[in-house]
């Protein structure tokens, strides 16, 4: 059980760091949004699952569960709103260089 907690915390740190590297490295708004929406959600989800396993069945676990569910709903909606802003403003998505395509 304790190993599972360590594994989930480790995954949380791993995905958080990689997602941030992705946000700093990718070329345009949409790809950055992909990195932030996937890896940000997974890193926090892993950390919350690890904390829930650590606390066992207490009132605290219920509250962490509420925060997790709120997070699972709100985070995709926030990235959806940002992506919609970028799309309505007409920011062109980044494409691969033509010579390497096909």
């Amino acid at each position: 059980m304790i190993l599972l907690v360590y594994a989930f915390l480790g995954m949380g740190i791993f995905f958080g760091v990689l997602g941030n590297i992705g946000v700093l490295r990718f070329p345009d708004v949409y790809t950055r949004l992909q990195a932030s929406s996937k890896c940000g959600v997974t890193s926090l989800l892993s950390i919350f699952i690890a904390l829930m396993l650590l606390k066992g069945l207490t009132p605290m676990t219920l509250r962490i569960l509420v925060i997790t569910i709120f997070f699972l709903i709100s985070s995709p909606v926030a990235s959806h709103v940002i992506g919609r802003r970028a799309w309505e403003q007409g920011i062109a998505p980044w494409r691969k260089k033509p010579e390497s395509r096909d």
């Binding site: 304790i2 926090l44 650590l54 605290m60 926030a78």
Partner: protein, 91 residues
């Protein structure tokens, strides 16, 4: 269940470092949308720090703070997106 190693401290410091890295994107982002992406990440990670602190010191009041912080951050991002749209349409 007890953790023998101070793992939660490590998690708190890593999350702090990550949120500082997200602030880099907020500062250098060429478009307003890039800055919003950075802000979204910062909000999520600060809420995560609050939850980890609540578990570490066993104070459940921090969980309320974390939930309210997450809700306010979400509403803030919605409001900023709405504001940018209004400004672009010239209202």
């Amino acid at each position: 269940m007890d953790l023998s190693v101070p793992v939660l401290d490590v998690v708190i410091f890593v999350l702090m470092g990550i949120s500082l890295m997200s602030m880099v994107r907020v500062i250098i982002g060429p478009t307003p949308e890039d800055r919003l992406i950075g802000l979204n990440l910062v909000v999520a990670q600060v809420a995560g720090i609050l939850v980890v602190i609540a578990v570490k010191f066993d104070r459940s009041i921090y969980l309320d703070v974390a939930l309210v912080y997450a809700i306010l951050g979400f509403i803030g991002i919605l409001a900023i997106a709405k504001y940018l749209r209004g400004r672009q349409l010239g209202e």
